[in-house]
Symmetry: C2
Subunit: 201 residues, 2 copies
């Protein structure tokens, strides 16, 4: 099987974190490739759809707080949520697109560590300083990463990626695309797996 799964993520989404682990497990089983693509819920949900974020939404906010931890246990993925403010994903998303231009595998590795630090180690990865510290531990030059985050071309490149995600119809994170089929939500991975195995229905 030589299919490619395009995986749209936002670092601020704990469901995207769970998906980031689970989609790579699935891809390894099926010998598929995963293309990681940043999107921003602040653009799709708030600007394009005209909705509120989960943290501002009664009932859903309480459900999600309980559900994410339960889902992590279901998938056997470590999960510890920071009790501080919501994660601000923009610096990490910019760091990702900067790294991607240098080395895609390194960008993915970095993204996996950002997700893990934020959602399994309960660190706040909102700031360039926190990301630079993480980069250093991965052998990435922290000053180069800080310059990348601040670079205008990198900002434009992220904006292009986000515009592309909206043009593709992506509104939530995680979203998975195979050929012309889009699936929203980590709970859809079993369906994605069946699609990959059977060629669709």
């Amino acid at each position: 099987m030589s299919k490619v799964i395009t995986f749209y993520f936002d670092f601020m989404s704990p469901y995207a974190y769970l998906a980031s682990v689970e989609v790579e497990r699935m891809a390894a089983r099926l010998k598929c490739a995963v293309t990681w693509r940043p999107m921003l819920l602040s653009v799709s949900v708030v600007k394009v759809m005209g909705l509120k974020g989960v943290a501002e939404t009664p009932l859903k906010r309480e459900y999600v707080a309980h559900d994410v931890a339960r889902f992590a246990r279901y998938l056997d993925i470590p999960f510890n949520r920071a009790t501080t403010r919501p994660m601000m994903p923009l610096p990490a998303a910019r760091a990702f697109v900067w790294l991607e231009q240098i080395d895609r595998a390194m960008a993915r590795d970095f993204a996996q560590h950002v997700f893990h630090a934020q959602w399994a180690d309960a660190q706040d990865m909102s700031t360039p300083a926190a990301l630079a510290g993480l980069a250093q531990s991965l052998g990435i030059e922290p000053d180069a990463l800080l310059a990348g985050i601040a670079d205008d071309d990198v900002k434009q490149q992220l904006k292009r990626r986000v515009d592309e995600s909206i043009a593709a119809g992506v509104f939530g994170a995680p979203t998975f695309v195979i050929d012309d089929q889009m699936f929203w939500g980590v709970d859809r991975l079993p369906m994605v797996e069946r699609w990959l195995q059977t060629g669709g229905w």
Copy 2:
């Protein structure tokens, strides 16, 4: 196994239709009981959460139109969407609570037929007249059903049910509750099944 699954539904949701079929299949496998409970997305989503309905939401609207049909094929459930206006669920929800006071099994049977007529036979079940016609085919006196839909006590009983659903934290349809655990979405039924089989995690 003697567990009870509380199944919250809104007739206007095609996902609730899929769930209405699938939850009974699952309950039969596991020898569980299903308690059907009406809720109204117009109350939870619009009034309480302050969001818009799917039909008013860019990106999600287009996704759902494609996804529901794909999901129906995945579950092997007949699906034909009426191309007319959105379903208005209030008369059918009132008919359900009226019937429930007489005979719970009959109310469930009626609800299943309403769902099927709306979402598999592409009929518009928004009106008392359409519901009365369906009732007659099931051996329910149509004039009694019409009187039930218009009855003030029935309207108050539905209002109580909807208030109870909000108090329970239910915001979406379908929602499943087992003991103190709430699961939102037809895509969560495999997780609900594992919870029932294992006693939770």
